[in-house]
Amino acid sequence: MSAQGRANGSPLLHMTGVVKRFPGVVALGGVDLEVRSGEVHCLLGQNGAGKSTLIKVLAGVHTPDEGHILWNGTEVTFPHPQAAMEHGIATMYQELDLVEGLTVAENIFLGHELSRFGFPRRRATQERAQELLTQLGHPGISPTTEVGGLSAANQQIVSMARALSRDVRLIIMDEPSAVLDSAEVDQLFDVVRELTSAGVAVVYISHRLDEIREIGDRVTVLKDGATVATGLDAKSTPTAELITLMTGRSIEYVFPTREAPDTAATPLLSVEDLGRDGEFHDVSFDVRPGEIVGIAGLVGAGRSEVLETIFGARRAERGRVRVGGTVVPPGSVAKAVAAGIGLAPEERKSQALVLEHSVGDNISLASLPAFSRAGWIDRGAERASSESYASSLEVRPRGVDREMRTLSGGNQQKIVLARWLQRGSRVLLLDEPTRGVDVGARSEIYTLIRTLSEDGCAVVVVSSEIPEVLGLADRVLVMADGAVLHQGPAAELDEHRVLDIILRGEAA
């Protein structure tokens, strides 16, 4: 590893007290970050700690509300992405932002095309693209192929070539290794080392501590949108210390107390060796009536995919799902629903609700046959039933005639639950049940989930917020990279230990 130019590098970037508010949320509440030329500076933090917002502030996508950004000692602002690029800041986003229908060369120079009198200089573009790809150790990628046909790893290379196609001083890499295998990661690191030895600074985001140890120089830890530690040595800071810094978020969780479930009961839901290529594998667990099983893990660990596969929205490639002992045919939502499974999906508004329709229509969407004879809906019965579910779940404001979109996040979530209760579902799969639900309404949702389970439902809860999983669930599965690393009673785990399992990437 080349270390020259790092030791006494002056700060290239110095952010102090950066605050970014969105309606209803403070995404960044005072971030300090100092990056030197030629160093690999790692950003650590849990989902929701503010890493993505911070990147977007640096990339000129978001304009901060407060704080200062010094670039080479001069105060700067990045009112739009072009401004950040002109200062030499390039960003490789986690979701690749390449245009699939364009060629590799066209993508690399998108936005700053090599042209003469408005006509693209095709030959020069291709030659320059080829040079960049060669420099990145991938002369094999042809500049004239369409990006859509490349593998994820090669798309990553194209994305990096695009970053380098400008005169770049600082590259932000948001989880670049997530789509790469280990040989490709090694290659990526070679490129990073080459860049830093040339004096380029890299801000590197990853959830893999071993990578941070290998490639990183210094670490900044974010929690709840604020810097909790900065300038830590990436090699020598103990793992336990890093995890402690990341945990103990300030959000207060209020969970209702309850009795331990009957562990002798026959499982209502049995998941056996479930797997889908490239998503998750060998997932097995049982849920008994009255039991809540939680799945903890970071975004991208395969948790939502597991739920959607149980629900039939994705077809299981391996393994099977049983409800009450009967196998549920794979790949059919209708059959999963008929078997008594209900899903409250992660993206409530786009996946669960018809926002322009009434609350009542949204509740009864899955139960229409129950209220109809020969296709004719008994609207009185439908309405009475939906009203009774809405009021027993204390949906506010009352009534089922309002348009769905006028309800708050918490009440929208209750409508999704009401839908499955009305359908008679006994197995409830809840994906991020409190996303978009404000703090006050959260404990209401928690109480509701508890009540449902006490009424004999088998509940599976997925959440990125570890304390939520630990507080709600009786048993917890910890997932990372599509594998279940740990399964055990929630009482035996704490946030620190769960994060430790995830970050070390192995069963502890």
Binding site: V337, P397, L407, E444
Partner: protein, 354 residues
């Protein structure tokens, strides 16, 4: 509940939206003109006013030639054929789709139902054979459209554009570009006749409209159609078989085209590959003017019927004033844009007040 926590200000919580005992009918947007126009009744009232204005113009410019019983029946008879297609189109659009092939399907159905072979069979059995043939051909075309869109994942625009070209081409091949005369007098007498002074064609339109209204507003079929158009993913994750439902919408519209073919056969006593020219535009325009969202999820049969009547009356008024079809086309274009712009304004106003 922990109220002292830093609760986000703009997020509406369950606690502060309204007092728990607020009346359930205090739906947003009912206040003000925009809210009223956004509501179902208000929107239809707007269309009725537009229709009445049009009638006033017709009476002012053409006098008794417009306001005669004969002329009114002419308008209704004219509107009935495109009306039946528009009712079917309302379902496809409510479900988030579009069908450009309706005119071509009408032409193919009319040709197929009037071939020598079909007419011979009809002579031997009953003229009902012709009706069945037309409807079966329409349903078949709709099935192809539906399967392509729902199961083949072809964009509705493309799938039905191909059907538009293919069906009319097939109609030309079968008819050899000749107009096929219907020989069965009973068929003409039945569909061309009146019941209690009301033309049978108009009665068919009324029946189809009533059937459409019930289907859309009172059945699981209609509710699912709206759910798919409003949010297909949510409908899928609620256990609705989105693809089957989508395919059925195109079949339904195909059947409507078959019925329309029978009606146009009765009116013209012919089957020809030139029937139904530009029906796709007239039907989509009537549906959109009626207030059905082109993006799906919300639709009204009453609005579609009014949209059809407005369009047909407009044509009639123009014809009575000896304005040529080109002028009519320009006027129709202007009306479509005006109606859609107005609809968007109202929708936005409705949304921001909600």
């Amino acid at each position: 509940m922990s109220n002292e926590l830093t609760s986000p200000e703009n997020e509406v919580t369950g606690h502060d939206v309204a007092p728990a005992d607020a009346p359930a009918v205090s739906a947003p947007g009912t206040a003000g003109l925009a809210g009223f126009l956004g509501s179902g009744l208000g929107r239809n009232l707007g269309l009725i006013i537009a229709l009445l204005l049009l009638c006033a113009v017709g009476f002012a410019t053409a006098g008794d030639r417009f306001a005669s019983a004969d002329n009114v029946l002419t308008i209704l008879r004219l509107g009935s054929v495109i009306g039946v297609v528009s009712i079917g189109m309302t379902f496809v659009i409510c479900g988030g789709g579009i069908d450009l092939s309706v005119g071509a399907i009408v032409a193919l159905s009319s040709v197929w139902a009037t071939t020598l072979a079909t007419q011979t069979m009809a002579e031997n059995v009953h003229w009902v054979v012709m009706v069945f043939t037309a409807i079966a051909v329409g349903a078949g075309c709709g099935l192809i459209n539906g399967v392509l869109v729902a199961y083949g994942r072809v964009a509705p625009f493309i799938a039905t554009l191909a059907m538009l070209a293919g069906a009319r081409g097939l109609a030309e091949i079968i008819a050899q570009r000749r107009t096929q005369i219907i020989r069965d007098r009973d068929f003409i007498t039945f569909f061309g006749g009146d019941v209690l002074g009301i033309p049978v064609l108009v009665i068919i339109f009324v029946l189809v409209s009533v059937f459409g209204w019930v289907l859309l507003n009172r059945t699981t079929f209609g509710r699912r159609t709206l759910a798919i158009g409003g949010n297909a993913e949510a409908a899928r994750l609620a256990g609705i078989q989105v693809r089957r439902q989508t395919a059925m919408l195109y079949i339904l519209l195909g059947i409507a085209c078959g019925i329309a073919a029978v009606m146009i056969m009765a009116r013209t006593t012919t089957g020809t590959s030139t029937h139904g020219q530009l029906y796709e535009l007239d039907a989509i325009a009537a549906v959109v003017i009626g207030g059905t969202l082109l993006s799906g999820g919300r639709g009204t049969i009453v609005g579609t019927v009014l949209g059809v009547l407005i369009f047909t009356t407009l044509t009639n008024v123009f014809t009575l004033n000896n304005l040529d079809t080109s002028t009519q086309a320009v006027a129709k274009g202007v009306i479509i844009i005006a109606a859609v712009l107005l609809q968007q304004r109202v929708a936005e106003r409705h949304r921001s007040s909600g």
